[in-house]
Amino acid sequence: MPTTEEPLVLPITQAKPQSEHDSGYAVICWDDPINLMDYVTHVFQRVFGWTKERAEHHMMEVHNNGRSLLVRETLEKAEHFVHQLQSYNLQATMERGE
């Protein structure tokens, strides 16, 4: 089995000043009827560097509950993860106050 490679890195958007908005954004992946389950697991492993077991756990949450809260991060980091997940065409968004 091949080793997990470094996550894809997209350009990070411009630096933003610290604000109250940086206290926490939830990165959420939403269910859709088109992405293959194995593909979603693969993407979680690539983007977050998770083990297969952890990636599968979140994939099954998406599948069974319609969504999974993947990580909670600052505004900039949350945007970075949403960019990466959407570059794989997963339905990912960031939500404040989740």
Binding site: P33, T93, R96
Partner: protein, 153 residues
């Protein structure tokens, strides 16, 4: 089309002449997913993210443009599709596996969007018409290849 092997260097899939022709034609359509519907959030009270949503779209557009350039070079290479007896071998180098999965997924999701995002049950019930046959075949082909490439991964 059948999975042959996954080695230390590549995943190899055997495909016949007709599948090869269709696959190359399908890959040439990349990208299919529309960019303008992308959103950073599903909440209505994130006015501060409007500009960031535009950045998301332009960032992914740039990423897609780079992938399209790489795909053209990839398809022009004589190392990706190699003839063997009466069929062809598709050789996906391990370093390109993740990238190629993204390409295939774009074609699969974009075709699904062209069909107006049907549920799995609706897909099964779709009639084969001049409008549906191509996206349905593209979804099937891309999904099958994705499954092969993710096998033992």
């Amino acid at each position: 089309m059948r999975f042959l092997e996954r080695s230390d260097t590549a995943t190899v899939i055997a495909i016949n002449e007709t599948e090869t022709t269709f696959l190359k034609a399908t890959l040439s359509k990349y990208p299919l997913v529309t960019n303008e519907n992308r959103e950073l959030t599903r909440s209505d009270d994130h006015d501060e993210l409007e500009e960031d949503t535009e950045l998301l779209r332009s960032s992914i557009k740039e990423h897609t443009d780079q992938s399209k350039t790489k795909l053209s070079e990839w398809l022009a290479s004589d190392k990706i599709f190699t003839p063997k007896d009466s069929e062809w071998l598709l050789n996906v180098p391990n370093e390109d596996l993740d990238w190629f999965l993204q390409i295939l997924n774009d074609l699969r999701v974009g075709s699904w969007q062209q069909l107006k995002c049907p549920s799995p049950e609706e897909i099964q019930a779709l009639p084969l018409t001049p409008e549906t046959v191509e996206p349905l075949w593209t979804m099937e082909l891309a999904g099958l290849l994705q499954s092969f490439l993710l096998r033992n991964h």
